[in-house]
């Protein structure tokens, strides 16, 4: 392995460890990864569970848990946006850029730590899911593939949020960006209700356009069964595409980012 690549990997691990060390000391972030998904899961199942018909699924929990898991994965990257805004504001990015370290490690380290936190959130949600009536209905291999896909989706959104953080420059800005762009996307999808009940225009968006639906359908197929062949490859392709596009944008922005 070349020295450059070895340093890139070790720098990434050093900065991922830095991000992970900070999380237990930041009650708000820790809540976002544990208490918040539990709360949303319980609320959705208890409040909407009785009212929403999900033909083809034994239980609303079977339908909804994959959806809310993918939503949580998508927002897991928010820690990266906030972390980068903070590093820029405090001048830490200047310190890192003056060190003989890999230029990319600040970004790859952050996004790598998101994977670890998303894995924690995923475990919490599966346990809570089982408590409210969810159950895997597929082979162990498919479940494992579903878990891997969830983490890949989360990783893709970490790069989206890396861009948000680098462009937003304030935590409030990052927040607005995230909630105006990504929150509606997760709702106008097949995550929480079958799109068949939506108005035509929204149904077209939710089933044919919204990549979030593709991702949710893929995870649902892998966790509880049902038709999902194309969706799985579609979800993988979307995730890789997001990483390629937003990764490139984030790296370019990082090279020139200065405190404003």
């Amino acid at each position: 392995m070349s020295l450059g690549l070895r340093f890139a990997i070790s720098d990434t691990l050093v900065l991922a460890m830095r991000a992970l060390r900070r999380i237990p000391r930041n009650p708000e972030l820790l809540t976002a990864y544990t208490v918040q998904p539990v709360m949303f899961t319980l609320l959705f199942v208890a409040v909407f569970g009785g009212a929403i018909q999900t033909p083809g699924y034994d239980d609303y929990a079977d339908f909804m848990i994959p959806g809310i898991i993918v939503q949580q994965m998508a927002f897991g990257g928010f820690a990266t946006a906030l972390g980068l805004v903070d590093d820029l504001k405090k001048g830490l990015v200047d310190r890192f850029r003056s060190l003989p370290m890999s230029r990319l490690a600040v970004l790859t380290g952050r996004t790598l730590s998101d994977i670890a936190m998303n894995a924690l959130a995923l475990a919490v949600m599966i346990v809570v899911g089982y408590i409210v009536g969810f159950a895997f209905a597929t082979s162990a291999l498919e479940v494992a593939a579903g878990v891997a896909l969830c983490l890949l989706i989360g990783y893709a959104f970490s790069w989206v949020f890396a861009c948000v953080g680098l462009y937003a420059s304030t935590p409030e800005g990052a927040n607005t960006f995230g909630f105006i762009l990504i929150f509606p996307l997760t709702f106008a999808s097949s995550a929480f209700v079958p799109p068949e009940t939506m108005p035509d225009w929204l149904q077209t968006f939710a089933t044919d356009i919204n990549p979030f639906s593709t991702m949710v359908d893929a995870v649902r197929a892998l966790f509880v069964g049902g038709p999902g062949g194309n969706d799985i490859w579609g979800a993988v392709a979307w995730s890789l595409g997001l990483i390629a596009v937003f990764g490139t944008l984030a790296v370019r922005r990082y090279r020139t980012a200065v405190v404003s």
Partner: protein, 337 residues
């Protein structure tokens, strides 16, 4: 590492320019800093000090001209150069969510010291900077002075031959400033070269071997502290009179010991003198003989404040700080929280 046997300057700047659209932040600066010396870079807010530091530490590319640090070009050899420099900034760039130890260990590992060496060096620096007891506490609990010390320690982790300190003591209390000065002096004694930007002239006076004054992106003076002071005039005796109406009589009584024509203003007579020895005694004798009562008398040397005021037309620490210019990267002075 830097070849200490050679006599190449540690920092060489030639025709350095930086512009942002129409705004010219640096208009062609030439400077050299000898190895093992301290250069104090002075200038009002927005003069281009921070821009210069950012270019020299590879954070910004210059628009024109060139700069070499430790013999390496800041653009072409940027990657190599970063292993030779340490940067401590006015914003105390340390991670508040980590402990002091974790901060220094992280920086050491990013300099690729290896885990064991990075940890050993972190403990050593915490000890040296009087942070050993606070080392395992989160930085968010540190005082402003402790953060600055940690920031400076982070710049020293890899023992870089060239250090850039951008307003290292801005906003610190006098005791913390003194502590930081001692640490910087110790580094220089071990052979490091330091470029220091500051708004505090006493800091430049104490630490810097040579001083460069920049204003509006242009180098307007360079030399030792004494050379600069001589440029704005030598020593003078200041006499405060009990009766201001005797000013003219006092001037005639004192013109014998003056090297230039004395002046009077608001009951204070200023007498430029060349030979300080016995000047006060002579002045007192002459005034006494002329029956002029003295309220106060003292020899006054020009300070760097006088130099600064004369050269830039502005006092060094404006009461009201200009808005930060986002393009030049200059920031208003900010108290450390």
């Amino acid at each position: 590492m830097l070849d200490l046997a050679s006599s190449n300057p540690a920092i060489e700047i030639e025709g350095l320019q930086k512009s942002y659209g129409d705004v010219q932040a640096l208009c062609g600066i030439d400077l050299e800093v000898e190895q093992g010396t301290v250069l104090g870079l002075l200038g009002p807010n927005g003069a281009g000090k921070t821009t210069a530091v950012r270019i020299l530490t590879t954070l910004l590319p210059p628009s024109a001209g060139s700069a070499r640090v430790a013999g390496l070009d800041v653009v072409k050899d940027a990657a190599e150069l970063r292993a030779q420099i340490g940067l401590a900034g006015q914003y105390a760039a340390v991670d508040e969510g980590l402990t002091g130890f974790e901060n220094l260990e992280m920086v050491g590992r990013l300099y690729h010291l290896g885990r064991d060496s990075a940890q050993e060096r972190a403990r050593e620096l915490l000890d040296r900077f009087d942070l050993d007891e606070a080392g395992d506490r989160l930085v968010s609990t540190y005082s402003g002075g402790m953060r600055r010390r940690l920031d400076l320690a982070a710049a020293l982790v890899a023992r870089p031959p060239v250090l850039f300190l951008d307003e290292p003591t801005t906003g610190l209390d006098p005791r913390s400033r003194l502590g930081l000065w001692e640490v910087i002096e110790a580094r220089v004694a071990q052979g490091s070269t330091v470029l220091l930007t500051t708004q505090y002239l006493d800091e430049a006076d104490r630490l810097a071997d040579r001083i460069a004054v920049i204003d509006h992106g242009t180098l307007i003076a360079e030399g030792t502290s004494d050379e600069l002071k001589e440029r704005v005039g030598g020593e003078r005796i200041e006499v405060r009179l009990v009766r201001p109406e005797q000013a003219q009589e006092a001037i005639s009584a004192l013109s014998g010991i003056a090297c230039e024509q004395p002046s009077a203003d608001d009951g204070v007579v200023r007498v430029p003198v060349r030979d300080q020895a016995g000047a006060i005694a002579g002045a007192v004798r002459n005034l006494d003989a002329a029956r002029i009562d003295i309220d106060d008398i003292a020899v006054r040397r020009p300070t760097l404040d006088d130099v600064f005021l004369t050269l830039t037309g502005r006092p060094p620490e404006p009461e009201e700080v200009d808005e930060a210019d986002p393009d030049t990267g200059e920031h208003p002075q900010e108290a450390v929280r």
